[in-house]
């Protein structure tokens, strides 16, 4: 059986967990904490990059770009593709995925999750310790602008990249859901973005994320509530 190595709050791993649900692809999901340098993980992913998808034949795809496209190529069909069918659709999906995985992660989800979650787990000598709350505030100050970006797209289109659900929706929702676990998404700021997230949150593929529970950091009450 194929395996996914992931860390629950990591937005890239979260996107792949949802994608696996969309493709209806059963895999063994294994939690990995890169900073623990587990020997068999380091052998696969020396730089500690997640997610890692290990296929039935032992081939390992490493990192979000490789894993997401690999799954679409090996598990997707014209009906279930999350990249798109035409070259233009596919380009639009990838433009938006890069926006969320690049810009949103650099500005918001990366700093906030590093400070509020990762620092609690990693040893002090590799960056563990108290969160830099000024950095958290700078990140969270930019959430609203990104919600507006999502809201505008959601008003113009059926899904973010166009007519069909795509990796762009999954990427945006994965980053936001990780912040949502911390109670850090001001959904009231943009009704269109909230309505779009509600549609994603109701999908069966999203359920594993809503069942996440990080030890010592329970999510807020509305995290798993479909009527948030």
């Amino acid at each position: 059986m194929a395996k996914l190595l992931h860390f629950p709050v990591d937005p890239f791993c979260r996107r792949i967990r949802v994608a696996l649900g969309e493709y209806d692809c059963g895999v063994e999901v294994i939690e990995e904490r890169p900073w623990e340098n587990r020997a068999s993980f380091v052998a696969l992913s020396p730089a500690g990059i997640l997610p890692v998808f290990i296929d039935d034949d032992g081939f390992a795809a490493i990192g979000i770009e490789a894993v997401s496209e690999y799954l679409d190529e090996t598990r997707g069909s014209e009906a279930t593709t999350l990249v798109g069918v035409t070259a233009a659709e596919r380009a639009e999906t990838r433009r938006l995925v890069a926006w969320f995985d690049g810009k949103f992660h650099a500005e918001v989800s990366g700093p906030v999750l590093t400070e509020k979650v990762i620092r609690r787990f990693v040893p002090r000598e590799v960056g563990g310790g108290a969160p830099d709350m000024a950095r958290v505030r700078r990140g969270l100050a930019m959430v609203r602008e990104h919600l507006d970006f999502i809201g505008d797209l959601a008003e113009q289109r059926n899904w973010l990249a166009g007519e069909r659900l795509s990796a762009a929706d999954l990427a945006a929702a994965a980053h936001l859901s990780a912040l949502d676990y911390l109670g850090d998404v001001p959904w009231q700021e943009n009704a269109s973005a909230k309505a779009w997230y509600q549609r994603i949150k109701c999908r069966p593929s999203f359920r594993p994320l809503l069942a996440d529970h990080i030890r010592g950091m329970p999510p807020p009450r509305l995290y798993a509530d479909l009527d948030f």
Copy 2:
């Protein structure tokens, strides 16, 4: 005729210029300075992201991820693909591209090019001015480690991702060539990496990069020399 909007020293744009040569795809190449906010550019790419590839039919692919895959899908063939033929090859290419466009850019080429080049061009009110040389030094201190990574791959494989030339080679070479324009690559540190770069540098597709000339910033003598 299709158009590429690019900025000469930008590593992402450089990769696409080389890719167009590999696909033998003639396009009109237009220099774009995102900070000048040219109206028709902002209309296409509101966030100022380059490269932008405008196809014959007017469709615009925006950003390196979208453009590189779009070109492979519309201009590549099984013989000329830069992503790879099998799903495993394609995953390996994308893993390495993400390494260079993500990690190498964040650690080295992004900071160095921003400080030494972009700051000379952009107005002071949006970040122009004197370079932060401490940031440049921190970036350049990491080049050697990346050359070792490239050298190791080049010793094990024909090209970085495997048997065939791929976007991984083009990405690595694009980032390094932008630094090389500044004379900032210590090629003597790794003979295997240098030999690999020499093979790329000799390709006809690389010639447009070697002809680059930024006003007021001429490249060092060895930049365009195939025997560097």
